[in-house]
């Protein structure tokens, strides 16, 4: 029988008001245990107020080969950024 445990990715919210951020991964038997180990492994120094764990196998990720078709077409749309628009002198709160 295999004794290999499953891989989980761990996300920590460091303060109220902030996003959960990926901090690393760990091995566990089930999501509940992964959550407890996440507490023991990744919040030993009060790094968090909330934890998420996700089975690594459940994450769908974009591939490097997707880069050209995913991201490049977005590079030529400067009109989405405020910096493209000039403002007259003296106007700084727009």
């Amino acid at each position: 029988m295999s004794d290999e445990l499953k891989l989980y990715e761990v996300f920590v919210r460091s303060r109220r008001g902030l996003d959960h951020k990926h901090v690393g991964s760990l091995h566990a038997d089930d999501p509940e245990q992964a959550l407890e180990y996440a507490r023991d492994v990744y919040t030993r120094r009060s790094e968090g107020v909330s934890l998420w764990v996700v089975a690594a196998g459940d994450i769908t990720a974009s591939q490097e080969s997707d880069c050209d078709s995913f991201y490049d077409p977005l590079d030529d749309k400067p009109y989405r950024h405020a910096a493209m628009y000039d403002l007259p002198e003296g106007i700084d709160s727009l």
Binding site: M1, L26, H27, A28, E32, D40, R44
Partner: protein
Amino acid sequence: MTVNEAVKTYCLRLGDDALILGHRLSEWTSRAPFLEEDIALTNVALDFVGRARLFYQYAAELSGGDATEDTFAYTRDVREFSNLLICELPRGDFAFTIVRQFLFDSLALLFMEKLKHSDDSRLAGIAAKAEKEATYHVRRGREWMLRLGDGTNESHSRAQKAVDELWGYTNEMFEVDALAATLIEAGIAVDTEALRAPWFESVSEVLTEATLTVPDTDWAVEGGRRGIHTDDLGFLLAELQFMQRAYPGLRW
């Protein structure tokens, strides 16, 4: 015996339980079944060493004079230690450690919930902190009991063996002697006798869910509170106190 002296003795009992059990847990560091559990077990060990320090610090204040937390941990001999016997038994295999923690922590949680309301505000403060730790310990313990009890044949038989070997040491956890009775009367200590039934209920429930058998036995060992220990405690202290015994009275 004055109330202060009685409270000090009470603190030492609770401190000794925490130190000796924490010491056994600390023996696991670098030896756990896998890394995540190595880290988790060490966290629990740290909780117990921390708990011991709080009880000893209060005992030191009540003693007056030069006593510190380390005086109690490092300069008393076996007969002066008053921990429960269940705390000092050698660490055994992982099942033994998990079952011992589960049996002990299940009571610790009920106990700290009560001690939190002690008329002695210092004890109440320590208990409030310990209750939070114990809540986590019991949660962890319960899940491990299920995994081991309801896991493979081997894990089941190891867990059952541990339950059977430890059961006779649990009776002592509830006993109320004269000193405890006086402090219970004064609204300071916890009536452990009254916790016997709720403890049995919650422990049996988990054992049953874990497909383990609740022992039906009347063997019950006691002695720890009176300083009558197993042979194991002497060896534990020899290791724990090595530095203070080899180089008495120095700062490290």
